[in-house]
C-alpha cells in the first residue's frame, strides 16, 4: 500500500503545481480536480474511506463543478489567458516560492527529528465518524451549520428577485421603444419576467 501512497502523493503534488502555473482557467481547474482525486486515494490508503468518498462527492463532484459553472458563465476566452500570462511574470513567484520553501525546510526538520507514529494503523468506518461527529464534536457541527446558514442567507439576499417597481420600469422602457405592428403581436418579456420562477 505504501507504493500506492507515494504514487498518489506524487500525482497530487505534480497536478497542484501544474494547476497553479496554468494560464487557462478551465485547464487549471482540471488539474485541480486530478489533485483532489489523488488526495482522495491517499485518504483511502491511510484508512479513511469515508473521508475519501466525501472528498470525491463534495470537493471534486460539487464545488469544482460550481467553479467550472462560473468560469463557463463568464465565458472568458483568449483575452483572459493573455491577461493571466501578463500577470504571472517570474518576479511574482519570488515571495510565494520563498515562503513555501521555508515551510518545506520546516517539514524536513520535523520529519527528521520527530518520532514516527507507532502502533497498528486503524481504519475508520463511516459509523465511527458519525458517532464522533454527533457525540464529542456536536458543538463543532452546530457552529459549522451556523456558518452555512449565514452563507445561505447571504446567497438568498444576493439572488432575490428584483423589486416589482423595477420590473415594471423595465417593462415600460421595453414597450416604449417597441413599435407595435397590428394588435395581436406577442410582446417579448410580457410573460417571462412576471411568471417565471
Amino acid at each position: 500500500m505504501l507504493i500506492v501512497f507515494y504514487i498518489a502523493a506524487a500525482v497530487a503534488v505534480l497536478a497542484t503545481t501544474v494547476a497553479i502555473t496554468r494560464n487557462n482557467a478551465v485547464h487549471a481547474l482540471l488539474y485541480m480536480i486530478v489533485s483532489l482525486l489523488a488526495v482522495a486515494v491517499i485518504f483511502y490508503v491511510i484508512g479513511a474511506p469515508f473521508i475519501a468518498a466525501l472528498e470525491l462527492i463534495i470537493y471534486a463532484g460539487a464545488i469544482m463543478v460550481l467553479f467550472l459553472f462560473v468560469v463557463m458563465m463568464l465565458n472568458i476566452g483568449e483575452h483572459a489567458t493573455d491577461v493571466e500570462t501578463a500577470w504571472l511574470k517570474p518576479g511574482v513567484w519570488a515571495w510565494p516560492s520563498g515562503l513555501a520553501t521555508l515551510l518545506l525546510l520546516e517539514l524536513f526538520y520535523v520529519a527528521a527529528h520527530a518520532a514516527p507514529p507507532t502502533g497498528p494503523m486503524h481504519a475508520v468506518t463511516p459509523k465511527e465518524i458519525g458517532i464522533s461527529l454527533f457525540g464529542p464534536y456536536a458543538i463543532g457541527v452546530e457552529l459549522a451549520s451556523l456558518l452555512l446558514m449565514a452563507g445561505l442567507v447571504g446567497a438568498y439576499h444576493l439572488g432575490r428577485r428584483t423589486s416589482k417597481e423595477e420590473e415594471e420600469r423595465n417593462d415600460a422602457s421595453t414597450y416604449g421603444r417597441r413599435t407595435v405592428f397590428g394588435s395581436d403581436v406577442v410582446r417579448t418579456g410580457s410573460d417571462r419576467t412576471s411568471h417565471a420562477a
Binding site: V26, H27, L30, I33, P49, F50, A52, A53, L54, L56, I57, A60, G61, A62, V65, L66, L68, F69, V71, M72, M73, N75, T125, P126, K127, A196, A197
Partner: protein, 320 residues
Amino acid sequence: MSQTLKNLYPLVIIAVVLGVILNLAAVLVWVERRLLAVWQDRYGPNRVGPFGLLQPLADSIKLFLKEDWIPPFADKPVFVLAPAIIVVTALLSFAVIPFAPGFVVADLNIGLLFLLAMSSLGVYSVVLAGWASNNKYSLLGGIRASAQMLSYEVFMGLSMLGVVIIAGSFRLTDIVEAQRKLWFVIPQFPGFVLFLIAGVAEARRLPFDLAEAESELIAGFHSEYSSMKFGMFFVGEYIGVTLISTAISLLYFGGWLGPFLPGPVWFAIKTMAFICFFILLRAAMPRPRFDQLMLWGWKFMLPLALVNLLATGAVVLALS
C-alpha cells in the same frame, strides 16, 4: 493452484461485468427503438437480422467508420477527454454493484457513497464537452447540465439516506441483505419516488434531457461531436440508465432476493423492468422548461427529501 484461481477471481468478475454492460448498452439502443415503436404503434428497426436484432451491430460499424472531426475552434485536449469521462465513471460505478452474493468486484464499506461520487464526477463529461466545443449551443447545454446535475444530486443523496438509516450500512451487500423480510420500497416509498426522479435527471433522460434538448439547442453539449466520440456519449447514457436501474433494484427492490429463480436472474429481471420504465417515460412525458425544472428540484423535491430523512430517522430511533 487454488490460490492463483482465487487471485484471478476478481479479474473474471471484471471481464464478465464489462462484457455484459457494454453489450447491454449496445442492445439497449435496439430495445429502446423497438419499445418506442410499440408504444407509438409502428414497427421500429426490424430489417437487420431476426427482429432487427443486428441493428446495434450495424449502428456501431457505421459510427466507427464515420469521419472523426474535431472543430478547429475547439479546445482539443478537453474535447477529446470529455466523452471518455462519462464512460469511465459510469463503468467504474459497476465496481461496487453486487450482482449476486459474492459476485462483486469491490465490496466497499462505502459502496453507496462511491456510487454517488462516480455519478457526480460524470457531470464533468457533459460540462467539459459543452465548454470545449466552443459553440454557443453546446455551452448552453453544458451550463444547463451542470446546474441540473448539481441540484438533483443533492436530493438524490438525501433520498437514499433513508435506506442507509434502516440498513445501517453504506455497503450495498448489507443493504440488500437487510431487505430479506421486506423490500425497502414499502417503508421508503417517498424515498423511492424521489430517487427515481433524481435518477432520471442524473441519467439526463427525457423528460430531464434539457442539456441536449434538440428542439432548442440542436443537440446541446454534443452538437460538435461525431463518429465514435458521439458514440461514447451514447454508450455512456445507456450505461447510466442501466446503472440507475441497478441502483433502484438494489436499494428498493431487494436486488438478487426473490423466490424460485436464482439471484442474478431476479436482479436482471428487476433491472430490465426499470430500464423499460425509463424508456416508457421517454415515450410519455414532455420536456419541462428549464426554470420549472430547477424550481421543482429546489422548492419541492429537496424539502420532501429532508422530511423523508427526518421521519425515517425518528421512526428508526423510536423503534430501536
